[in-house]
């Protein structure tokens, strides 16, 4: 077994570790690295919702009521689905109004009412001190359960002093972590990191304990739950189908936990006040409920394992510790104890911190403001908060002693949740219903808390044996109809369901009735308009604040003196400067009436961070910040504004509503459009990818086409060569024949011995001339057949090109009866060109001309050259009648031909046009000519 000294030693080490975390976090935060300012830590800190009541009490509840415990956590999850916009709104309000707790929120909404702040605080203190007592009880009970108190003096002393030790530790923790500074609106990174670490420890400890108990000690999850059905299915409620009242109780638990996760002071503090970035709520919306799911996984299986091990159900809240201890896992028990301590300590510290702020702002400050004898306390706000924190924890400890282990303590969890539910109508109504007013909220809260006390709080004491049971059995003064648990004859319901129904009925009913019956003051209505309509309220100050008649220094002095009542001089000066800066009047010597109001508002907000909004409001009012003449000037300014805009206040409100509604509609439409745009972007992206793919395919097709075109070009060239092959053969054959004849003549002369030197020389000269002609033709053929597309441009005379070209075909044409007339230009007329390509074009034109006129009776082809200053025109004209007007537009298109199939590729003219254009020239049909005439126009060499 483990000694008490060891347990306390481990606990102190753990606490020291937590303080070290807090210290380091605070130190880093001061140097600009705030570990607490991230969504993970923020979300984990929200798990302060899970107290020792979750840790130990859920198992007891599961042992008695099956799955009912889950409603406490499922309700919190569902609340996050339905009420997330409310949380966002609260975070924004906290930023704007320096709200520090739920009582502040109610007070600010209803005309900065001190009364409502005090009522909410009273309700929270009465409802939650027993809940704190529950945590203290769990720490004390579990520490004595796992530790054996030996007879040593130290152990005995420790055992007797456990209560004070824990109380002192928790008070010290609350002060050190949460109440070291006066302004509670400032965030506490050290506290938040500590709470987050504690929450991780309790989750790990619970899962470890649950795993060991269920899988090592029990028979596994499936077997355990199967046994539960067999052995306890009919004994334990909520293991199967339930009755209608039981179902209503399930729904009541969901309702109560749903409101608790929003309005419990500690939840409000960690969720709203400690929020540093609204976006963290988004992460918390799934991470926090995930935590709740995990921590509940083993609750029912552990409870069933305990029952199966025949540990009495009355000790079910200790199963988590007892089962490992009995099975010889003492160190696991120590870890479980640390987890339980974390659950309890986290809750006590944060709840106490929140309650101490509420007590000082809404109970102490009104008293101090009212009674001059207490004025000295204004300068000791921080110390007052420490006292309030001490009071809360000591009261909880005292409650533990007084009420002990009775029903009044163990049932206090849900009873506290029911108390917190009473904040819901005034808070939710205040944020969304403009007509809700102070009178309605006061009546609702009074009725709700009174019904709660009558139907739940007092009966808990009666059942615990601390109060006579007559009230519960016979009703007050014997009036059975007024019995607390069957009010007005409503019986058959669980007491909690019964109370939840009646408290909400009275609370909501009186809230609405009071709001509709009683008048709302102008100032309160202004707050309501600001909060419900979320208006910024600064737009009307521009043109009406011209009369600068108020001395700024005087007003600044009043602000400073007011602040100095509550704060040290240096802090008062700092906050005064901040208020002046926020009001935008730091350097102005004189103020207008409207600037004065702005300063008052900002001074109130700044001071509210330290003493609460209601007290700040009262403090500035008491300081007579706005004098009577200034009040008149202010009324005059407002009167002028209303006269100028020609609207009554009611009409203005309606217009604001109208425009606020329009704004909301536009915002929604904008969001819809944005969503559509995003969708369109996605579609466009897909289409772009498709287009890129198609583009790639197109490029590949184009490359293939170019390749095919080049092949066709070659084909076309060789087709032209084929067409002139006969002519070329003839051109070569003619000189060959001549050479043969000369050679025969030489042989004859040689045999007749008539050979003289002069004649031989003449004949040999003729042979040389003829072979030169053949060589020229072959050279031309070789040039023509090669690919000249990549050749560089070179200077070439037009006459040379024509001669070379005509050498291929001239003789053939003549043999076919075609008269060829060429007008050779001067040799000086030259082109910068690829001669082979130009020759190819001319040859194409000549071949086309020849094909076109072959059937005509008159057959001639004429080649003319005309030279301009900067260009040369080569025209090829034939005896044909010209080209039909219908065909002119098509003749340069690729694959267009008028020749019979198999005789033409249809590429000649299109390729020729391409070649000439690549030389910066043009190839056109001369439509004005009576015959068929093509004109090649090319730039002259050097031009």
């Amino acid at each position: 077994m483990i000694s008490m000294t060891f347990i306390l030693g481990v606990l102190l080490a753990y606490i020291a570790l937590l303080y070290l975390c807090a210290f380091i976090t605070e130190k880093w935060a001061r140097s600009g690295t705030n570990l607490a300012n991230n969504p993970l830590v923020y979300s984990l800190s929200l798990a302060v919702y899970c107290t020792s009541w979750t840790y130990y009490g859920s198992i007891e509840m599961a042992a008695k009521f099956g799955f009912l415990f889950m409603a406490v956590y499922i309700g919190a999850t569902l609340s996050l689905i339905g009420a997330a916009p409310l949380l966002h709104r609260l975070v924004r309000m906290k930023r704007r109004y320096h709200i520090t707790n739920i009582a502040d929120l109610i007070s600010v909404r209803y005309g900065r009412s001190e009364l409502l702040g005090a009522m909410a605080t009273m309700g929270a203190v009465v409802g939650l001190i027993p809940y704190i007592a529950l945590q203290l009880k769990s720490i004390l009970a579990t520490s004595t359960l796992i530790a054996v108190t030996s007879n040593t003096q130290a152990d005995q002393l420790l055992s007797k002093s456990l209560g004070p030790i824990f109380v002192g530790t928790l008070i010290a923790g609350t002060v050190l972590l949460g109440i070291r500074r006066l302004d509670p609106t400032e965030r506490h990174p050290g506290l938040i990191i500590t709470v987050a670490v504690e929450n991780v420890v309790k989750l790990v400890a619970f899962l470890a304990a649950g795993g060991v108990i269920v899988f090592l000690l029990g028979g596994g999850l499936g077997a355990t739950l199967h046994s539960a059905g067999e052995k306890f299915g009919t004994q334990i409620q909520y293991l199967g189908r339930t009755t209608t009242p039981e179902l209503l109780k399930w729904l009541t638990y969901i309702l109560l936990s749903g409101s608790a996760v929003l309005f419990l002071p500690r939840q409000f503090h960690v969720t709203v006040v400690e929020n540093s970035d609204e976006r963290h709520l988004k992460t918390a919306s799934w991470l926090f409920p995930s935590y709740l799911v995990l921590i509940n996984l083993f609750v029912l299986p552990v409870a069933v394992t305990g029952l199966l091990a025949q540990v009495p159900v009355s000790r079910a809240d200790t199963y988590l510790l007892e089962l490992p201890l009995k099975s010889g896992h003492p160190y696991l028990a120590v870890l479980i104890f640390l987890g339980g301590f974390s659950a309890a300590a986290g809750m006590v510290i944060v709840e106490t911190m929140a309650l101490s702020t509420m007590i000082t702002h809404h109970l102490m400050m009104p008293l101090i403001n009212r009674f001059r004898v207490l004025a000295f306390a204004k300068r000791h706000m921080l110390q007052m908060r420490w006292v309030a924190a001490g009071f809360v924890i000591v009261a909880g400890y005292h409650y533990t002693f007084t009420v002990g282990n009775s029903y009044a303590l163990v049932s206090m969890g849900m009873i506290s949740f029911a108390a917190v539910l009473q904040f819901a109508p005034a808070t939710v109504g205040g944020l969304f219903w403009r007509k809700g007013n102070k009178a309605g909220a006061a009546l609702g809260l009074t009725a709700g808390f009174a019904a709660w006390a009558y139907m739940l709080f007092i009966p808990a004491f009666i059942k615990g044996g601390h109060v006579e049971s007559a009230l519960l059995e016979r009703g007050p003064f014997g009036l059975q109809l007024l019995r607390p648990e069957s009010f007005l004859g409503l019986s058959g319901l669980d007491p909690l369901t019964h109370a939840a129904f009646w408290t909400l009925f009275f609370n909501v009913g009186f809230y609405m009735l009071g709001s509709l019956v009683f008048r709302t003051s102008a100032a309160e209505q202004l707050d309501a308009d600001n909060i419900v309509g979320a208006q910024q309220g600064a737009a009307l100050t521009a043109s009406h604040s011209k009369e600068l008649t108020i001395d700024r220094a005087t007003k600044e002095q009043i602000v400073y003196r007011t602040f100095e009542q509550f704060l040290p001089p240096a802090k008062a000066r700092e906050l005064t400067d901040r208020a002046m800066a926020l009001a935008g009047i730091s350097s102005a010597p004189q103020l207008s009436a409207l600037e004065l109001v702005r300063l008052q508002d900002q001074a109130e907000l700044v001071l509210a961070g330290s003493i609460g909004m209601a007290a700040a409001h009262v403090a500035l009012r008491n300081a007579e910040f706005i004098t009577s003449p200034e009040q008149k000037a202010l009324s005059h300014a407002y009167g002028e504004m209303l006269a100028e805009i020609r609207l009554s206040p009611e009409e203005i409100r309606k217009k604001i509503d109208f425009f606020a509604e329009r704004k909301e509609i536009f915002a929604r439409q904008a969001a819809d459009l944005q969503a559509r745009l995003n969708q369109r972007d996605e579609e466009n992206l897909i289409k772009t990818v498709e287009l890129l793919n198609m583009n790639q395919q197109l490029k590949e097709s184009l490359a293939a086409l170019r390749e095919a075109q080049e092949r066709l070009l070659e084909t076309s060239k060789f087709t032209a060569l084929g067409e002139m092959a006969g002519g070329v053969a003839h051109e070569i054959n003619t000189p060959l024949c001549a050479i043969q004849l000369i050679a025969e003549q030489l042989q004859t002369l040689l045999s007749d011995e008539k050979l003289d030197r002069e004649m031989v020389a003449k004949l040999l000269g003729k042979i040389v001339e003829l072979t030169g002609r053949i060589a020229a033709i072959i050279k031309g053929l070789r040039m023509f057949s090669r690919n000249a597309g990549m050749d560089p441009l070179q200077k070439e005379s037009v006459a040379g090109i024509l001669r070379s070209t005509l050498s291929f075909c001239e003789h053939k044409f003549k043999s076919e009866g075609i008269e060829v007339a060429v007008k050779y230009p001067d040799e000086s007329i030259a082109l910068d060109c690829r001669p082979t390509q130009i020759s190819q074009v001319v040859l194409n034109l000549l071949n086309n001309a020849r094909d076109a006129i072959m059937t005509l009776p008159e057959r001639w082809i004429r080649v003319d050259v005309e030279s301009g200053v900067d260009h040369v025109e080569v025209s090829v004209t034939d005896s044909g009648p010209g080209i039909d007007a219908m065909l002119r537009a098509k003749i340069f298109q690729p694959f267009f031909t008028t020749k019979p199939v198999g005789l033409g590729t249809g590429l000649g003219l299109s390729v020729s046009k391409g070649i000439i254009e690549s030389h910066q020239g043009s190839l056109n049909l001369d439509t004005a000519c009576g015959n068929t005439r093509f004109i090649i126009r090319l730039p002259r060499c050097g031009k």
């Binding site: 339905g82 997330a84 966002h88 930023r95 199967g240 189908r241 339930t242 609204e278 799911v293």
Partner: protein, 65 residues
């Protein structure tokens, strides 16, 4: 779906759907000897609610400080 999660009214549909789902074992699933089935059903439904909570929060517009 993104538009659905943006609508404030959708939250309440989801809320009611989840409430009905987590209450269903006590209304429509008979048999006191089936806690294992109820256990799995409740945790799965709860997990679904957590997912919905996360999805809805992504549709909330954040106000600049």
């Amino acid at each position: 779906m993104r538009r659905f999660f943006k609508h404030p009214e959708s939250r309440w549909i989801a809320f009611l759907l989840c409430l009905g789902l987590v209450s269903w074992p006590f209304v429509g699933l008979s048999g006191a000897n089936r806690p294992l089935f109820t256990y799995i059903f409740l945790f799965v439904a709860w997990g679904g609610a957590v997912v919905l909570s996360g999805l809805f929060s992504s549709g909330v517009d954040i106000e600049d400080k």
